[in-house]
Symmetry: D2
Subunit: 337 residues, 4 copies
């Protein structure tokens, strides 16, 4: 059994990680922390029929675990990750703190200096469909954001095949359920404000998830600067759909486009490509840990890729556990299907 | 034109009052206050196409208005009402501060001493269907709570006719949209917590709206102590439905029960009784200022009355404007239909 | 491995049964039928990542299964149940066709004559918390309706202890998610009609679930005729909450009331009683197969019991699998936790 | 008073037209038809507190009205429009039957031959912000579709100023509330299927609203063939947001882009342009008859325009009444603000 601790168990991603890991056949849950609810039990916060005590972060017994899931807010995650690595514990970090390889870029987007730039080169960006070999070896896994996961899964086959027109905009119009905004109450997440409404926010190139997408697109040989990314909040608890509009550098037939996607993901246990004519919807992945894609061919240079994930599943906790499984050499889908 | 000011315009009841009054043909809006948003405009807070500046409460020109709508939280309302009355301005108070005639009872339920017990005898509880004559004369109108409005409209015909069994429980099972909980963000009103959920809270005899119902039932000759009142939060922005179960002291035929309701409200412009066989739903009153009732006869001693209002309409701002219309002698439905 | 077939797999209860059984460690799924979608695959109907072919009912190989789940509409279920029993297959019937022991009563409520009155005495009403010994032995399990499950779990401790006042109304105010109305499109289940609305329907003693509640209450020594049952449709996909108001024949302290419930269900793996002060909400059981109860003591003769189930979980497919587990002598919670 | 009849009053657009017109100060409602509900009253279909009898289409007294609103499905609308025109009645047609000027194109997209090609040249496509002079004179007003209204309002300033790059895709990613799918029950509009889901459908260039957008873009000198239009169904009753991504042929500063929109719509009573930094959301127009736009400048050749309308307001009935007001020379906003 792999011994695991969770930092930040009271938020949505922490709770979801806990919900997966408590049933994971290769995992023994050792601790769960919460700063806001230390001393309480999980059932004091969520209407659950199972339970676990919540301890303060400072009391976490790092010497008794093999791995930790770090579900703290960005900024707050850094010192905990540093401490865990110093204790020799493998880390799956669900915050943004180790996703960008450039400490200056991190500071620019997150408004705080990076406290451990040396660890950035050690960290691996955990999209196993793209990076599996490196995920397997790393001790510090930076789990991608939910929006980047949905957009990068949509772009990866075209990037890998060098098919994107480097001069054309890549337009990702994304829609997210409200749990993506976290559990802290705010006017934006107030039921009456979010219900029966749909709101774009930080559209274009201003959302904090843009730089990790740009970085990954560039790493795969694409022109990340052409990315236009527009998130929208929708009155749904969980779910994410990105509708991605791409222009190609060369002609591609409809059949070839479909084949490219089908073959790229043929061996992937957590990603599915729908047959021609079906479109990915939020319902395809809701309360699962899968990504589901559909390809719509408009003409030989123009595709629309719809990419569906659950923002807390493949977009956060599910992907974190998938990465954990790869890191520890157990069946990649363990606890997830 | 009647000159009107609004205290507390940034909350849901204040905003809704403003939305009615700005189109009210007999009203000139003079000011709107907000402590949290003083110096801003309404369009900074709500996605509206019209606008009004929000001033601090302390700057409100009481000498330039004939009436004020006081939409402040309970406790905060008292000093403003006192000041307005001292300035000779007629007050429609939407808070709970002047609904209970007994200052001790107020303190018991609201945990603060009453600051103006002398004004309590002057205040009139503003259910015009029950109290119209007194509403017309008063200078201090205590606008009822949303739950009490829905429950009392359901009970009034039976109370008036002295038909309720004084020994039997009166069971009001009420369901409310989330706007009833106010605009201040909290975990209870977080979209992800409220959505796809339905929660009872403060059930039995522990909700703060119980004493004003008990008081009104008693004033009408009933046994208020038999009231059992169970509110539930439902994932709806606006709306309220109370399903009220009553036992009768004497036999009543189905036709007589229906007639009792139909006749009691026959002349009421803001209350409708559905024909036999139809049931009141939230949709009957949503985004209106009406109350809609249905009567279901089970046997000669047992009825179920369904009572629908919009919690911000007949349950708050709509009823406040109805009372205002009565107080100022204009057409009772002005601005409301 | 127990070999299982499902009749009527394309509706919500059939689909949910399938979703549980395909992961059930003691089950081998042999067939799934659908009259409306015969020849299609499940993934043609639902956005699922797994699949099963749908065959016509007439092609179902009854000789190759040990048990069938019958998820057909009432009326349509009878001939299939008869055929399965003649083939020596054990039946879990999720329809209403074998819940009432009186064939005349069935005809009165369902407007069709019963085709197999002889089987009615063989059928066992499958609330394992009440009836486990008989469930274990039966070959024909009548799975209870969702509303009856929620109401009977709330009443059972009081019925068992003979505490209900036989002269007082038992008032069950129930709220159900829309999936309870089935998958067939209708105006009632149209998104725009159900969304932002809450509707009572068939309130009092007119809903088809009344007679199975009356029968069970009577079997437990209570006065079923005093039941008043009011269902409401709420804009939620899955979930059910019944708020049950009961009067007692003798004084009961708050502690004794809580103890009664806690002890009655102490050994029950699928029912939980919340500690005093917490109230059962839909979220407590949503997407689970549990029942969760809370007891609110008002005075020595008056309780409110809130009873939460998922209408497709403990209210249908989850309870069906629980009964199946009991019938086949495997761990009662297998596939359910 | 202008005498008005409504054909097809029982669907959502017919009902909404009725709801506006019954309060319209210059209108006398003469008749409302419904084929499916002829002989019933409106209150038999909708939970309304006001009422009107529904007559069969064949009984409609065309000789007693000055104008008709035709809210029938496409195809069904043609004969009624023809009859009304023959009777000398001015027509506002909310169906698609007279929007396309090319009868062959109509047949291609709607699969029925056009029955009155001669009337097509008489019909005026009713976006008053673009076409007001022609709207004023016409006797046959083709009211635009909801999606086209939202997209064309977003594009019009750029088209008018000849700023769009004719070689670049125009990408309109649109999100619509479920009422846009009509009131006829279907699996797509079933609450449980639509709730908590978001689905793209007919994306690219396959939705029936594409040709009227292409036609209008071309009429304004743009390259309509470059339009990519992707509708999505969202779990909201009413509302529409189009996020429109455009590439410009020449450099435009952020200030110039904002000015272009502000000035284009400065005199328009039913369209508002938000100040820089605010984004249009569905809430800006919900239950209004307005269009609200925001302009986001990414770089001198790339803009994102968010365009919000209520699909039943400015997207259907509200725009129809706006056109009616223009046609009859009354205040354009009468009945709408």
């Amino acid at each position: 059994m792999i011994k695991v601790g969770i930092f930040g168990a009271s938020g949505y991603t922490g709770f979801e990680s806990l919900a997966i890991l408590r049933k994971h056949p290769a995992v023994e849950l050792v601790f769960a922390t919460s700063e806001s609810a230390a001393g309480q039990k999980l059932s004091d916060l969520y209407p659950v029929a199972w339970d676990i005590p919540l301890i303060p972060l400072a009391d976490a017994p790092l010497d008794r675990v093999d791995a930790v899931f770090c579900c703290l807010p960005h900024g707050a995650s850094m010192p905990t990750v540093i401490a865990a690595r110093q204790a020799g514990v493998r880390v799956i970090d669900l915050s943004a703190d180790f996703r960008l390889t450039d400490a200056q870029l991190y500071q620019k987007w997150y408004n705080v200096p990076h406290e451990a730039p040396a660890l950035l080169s050690e960290a691996v960006y955990g999209l196993p469909e793209i990076n599996r070999a490196r995920v397997r070896e790393t001790n510090l896994l930076a789990n991608p954001g939910c929006y980047p996961t949905s957009v990068l899964l949509a772009l990866y086959p075209l990037l890998k095949a060098k098919l994107l027109d480097p001069a054309a905009p890549i337009i990702a119009d994304s829609k997210s359920g409200v749990s993506g905004a976290g559990r802290k109450p705010s006017l934006k997440t107030h039921f009456v404000e979010a219900n029966e409404n749909l709101s774009p926010y930080n559209i274009g190139q201003s959302h904090r998830h843009v730089p990790e997408m740009v970085q990954t697109i560039a790493n795969l040989g694409g022109n990340g600067e052409k990315l236009i990314f527009s998130p929208h909040l929708v009155p749904i608890s969980r779910g994410m759909l990105s509708t991605v509009y791409v222009s190609l550098a060369d002609d591609l037939s409809a059949a070839a486009a479909q084949n490219l996607y089908t073959e790229t993901y043929a061996a992937e246990p957590m990603v599915q490509v729908l047959p021609t004519g079906q479109l990915a919807t939020m319902a395809h992945t809701q309360r699962t840990h899968l990504g589901v894609l559909s390809v719509t061919w408009l003409h030989p240079r123009q595709l629309i890729v719809c990419s569906s994930i659950d923002n807390l599943g493949k977009g956060a906790a599910g992907q974190a556990v998938q990465n954990f499984n790869v890191m520890f050499g157990v069946e990649e889908t363990l606890g997830l299907l």
